[in-house]
């Protein structure tokens, strides 16, 4: 978190992360080059660069895409997610090297402009087998460029989180194009089933992890929908819905609720209960998987913080989320899914020691 523009907000973790990242990049490129020199001494320098950077960027993209669902399945992978921006930008730069070398190699020094050549040399756009696969790589690179260029939180804030999120979901379109770029390109030259198998294994890993993570999330969403509807008890104000038992929420943690399409994080801290919108303003991280630290809801993805009673980030930060009314009747917790404007203070519901106590926190 930072309130001033800081190109890289270095932390000890980021330092270590980047060193390991660069070590792996160096290891791959050096090993690839050395193996090519030994196994295929006829390879030209340009082809070596194109293949080394292309395969490395493709491998890195797979790792990047696997981190998200892995974190969904096991939150202990979160440290990999926290610094994924550096991984993504590095992958883009390596992919860019691949793209530039390809354009120089295959399209420069000809009778038309290289970028024109990219699209008019092979015009079999209607054929799958002969499809001009290089154009797919070009458009994927454009998407990855936009993502890398806007990866900083400065752009997240200025583009607004929803727009930023949509833009960065473009990575899936880029991945699909890159897979087709590989399958309709170099794989058509290669005969080894090992290379086709590697590509398939990568796709299977990415798609499989996303499917399993989505299935887990779906189960979680189902569990987050309270079984009760509007409370039939007369002394519960109109609009409140039974959410859970007080004991269902661990101390300083939350329960996720989906009530009438409202995604709510219901936090218990001390003897208080507060509800805020479940999605972090930073990157839509699930606040319900966060924790109350120093009196603030702390997002599990990037550590953004909000006060539970008003949904505002502590000064000098300015992020805000919607708040909701909460009430407790004995051991039962009720939430009104009607959201208040972002940052609206709502007094927490108090959990009394005796279940007979009743306190309605509402208008």
């Amino acid at each position: 978190m930072s309130v001033i523009y800081d190109p890289v907000h270095w932390t000890p973790h980021k330092n270590v992360y980047d060193k390991i990242l660069l070590a792996f990049v160096g290891l791959y490129l050096v090993l690839f080059g050395a193996l090519e020199a030994i196994l295929h001494p006829q390879v030209t320098a340009e082809t070596l660069v194109i293949r080394a950077t292309g395969t490395l960027a493709f491998l890195m993209l797979h790792i990047i895409l696997c981190i998200g669902p892995l974190c969904r399945l096991d939150k202990r992978f979160l440290p990999l997610l926290y610094n994924r921006r550096h991984l993504g930008v590095t992958m883009f730069l390596i992919g860019l090297t691949h793209g530039v070398f390809n354009i120089v190699q295959f399209h420069t020094q000809g009778n038309v402009d290289p970028l024109v050549s990219l699209f008019v040399s092979n015009t079999h756009y209607g054929s799958l087998v002969r499809f001009p696969f290089q154009s797919l790589g070009f458009f994927a690179l454009i998407i990855l460029f936009l993502m890398a260029a806007t990866s900083h939180d400065f752009w997240l804030k200025n583009l607004t989180p929803p727009a930023w999120k949509v833009l960065h979901m473009g990575v899936y379109a880029a991945y699909a194009m890159i897979v087709m770029h590989v399958m309709l390109g170099v794989i058509q030259l290669e005969k080894s089933p090992v290379l086709i198998g590697l590509t398939g294994l990568g796709m299977f890993s990415v798609i499989g992890l996303h499917v399993v993570a989505a299935w887990k999330q779906m189960k979680k969403d189902q569990a987050a929908r309270p079984s009760g509807v509007h409370c039939p008890i007369s002394n519960i104000p109109q609009g409140f819905v039974y959410a859970c038992e007080v004991a269902d929420i661990p101390d300083n943690r939350a329960k996720m609720l989906i009530i009438h399409s409202e995604n709510i994080a219901l936090f218990k801290y001390g003897n208080k209960l507060s509800a805020v919108h479940n999605l972090c303003k930073h990157q839509n991280g699930p606040l319900s998987e966060g924790k109350i630290i120093d009196g603030c809801i702390t997002c599990p993805w990037h550590g953004y913080q909000y006060r539970p009673e008003d949904g505002q980030s502590p000064p000098p930060f300015k992020e805000m989320v919607c708040t909701y009314d909460v009430m407790v009747e004995g051991t039962k917790v009720y939430v009104n899914p009607q959201p208040y404007p972002e940052g609206t203070a709502r007094p927490p519901a108090t959990i009394h020691s005796s279940w007979k106590s009743l306190e309605v926190i509402s208008q």
Binding site: I20, L78, P79
Partner: protein, 283 residues
């Protein structure tokens, strides 16, 4: 027991998180090198094509232009003592052929054209050699007509004996891949197939002679430069076939160590690349 919680901006990660990260890094220590090993080991090998870029060679010989610009040089003697001639296909810089200029002369891309015709004249050519599978081309840097041309025996009277089954003097149908000789012989490696298609299109569009690479059943290869039935350029007609497997009919002519197929473009058919090694002959 208090559940561990990770915050990226804190200095220490909880032990269980740190343990998973360490295991992930260990996994990457296997995955990253293994990927490099598998890709480099199992990828299709490269040809022995060579491009002597930066190593300038000067050759003297006789220039011919029908149907392609060749420099004919004497490369040695055969068993009977007759001279053996070698033809060097001349190509331009970048993705350009050695080009016919207005007025009948020739020119190197970016250089002033020779106004006078050079066919049959002795020339000194300077450039970078490109060679593979017994075929040689040269990227021409400069060319000059020699006032005192070296006298050769008439090149067309002395040929090396045919050594492959493809060398039939009658009309033939050949199956192979349309490509360009400059890249295929060594400037690019690999200089064929789908990844190279765009480059082959640019080279053919730039005037480099189109070439058919035919692979025999046992893997031997032969190369056929493609011209129209009357020696006219087929480049524009073949652009859409670059990098593809085709079958094509025509009349074969041997020019020293090169084959030229005077092809009928109407007979071109795309064929599955899987059948490229079936060399079909016809009348």
């Amino acid at each position: 027991m208090q559940e561990e919680f990770y915050i990226g901006w804190q200095t220490e990660a909880p032990p269980s998180f740190a343990r998973v990260v360490r295991r992930s890094v260990t996994g990457l220590c296997v995955l990253v090198p293994l990927t490099a090993i598998l890709i480099t080991y199992f990828q299709t090998g490269f040809s022995n094509g060579t491009f002597e870029f930066g190593k300038k060679t000067e050759l003297e010989g006789i220039f011919s232009e029908n149907p392609f610009p060749f420099l004919t040089i004497e490369s040695g003697k055969d068993a009977t003592g007759n001279p053996v001639f070698q033809k060097i296909l001349l190509v331009g810089k970048g993705k350009f052929g050695f080009q016919k200029a207005e007025g009948g002369g020739w020119r190197v891309e970016g250089e002033p054209a020779f106004a006078e015709a050079m066919a049959g004249k002795g020339v000194k050519v300077s450039g970078f050699l490109i060679y593979n599978d017994g075929k040689t081309a040269m990227e021409v840097e400069s060319i000059e007509i020699q006032e005192e041309a070296k006298e050769f025996e008439k090149p067309s009277t002395v040929y090396r004996p045919p050594s492959t089954v493809h060398r039939l003097p009658s009309a033939v149908q050949l199956r192979g891949e349309i490509t360009d000789p400059k890249c295929l012989l060594g400037v690019m490696n690999p200089g064929q197939g789908k990844p190279h298609r765009d480059c082959a299109v640019r080279c053919l569009a730039g005037g480099i002679a189109p070439m058919l690479k035919v692979t025999g059943a046992s893997g031997e290869t032969e190369y056929y430069l493609l011209a129209g039935a009357n020696g006219e350029a087929l480049n524009d007609r073949l652009l859409e076939y670059a990098g593809d497997g085709v079958q094509i009919c025509g009349r074969l002519e041997q020019q020293d160590d090169w084959w030229v197929l005077y092809a009928d473009p109407a007979t071109i058919r795309r064929v599955n690349k899987g059948t490229l090694n079936v060399g079909v002959m016809c009348n």
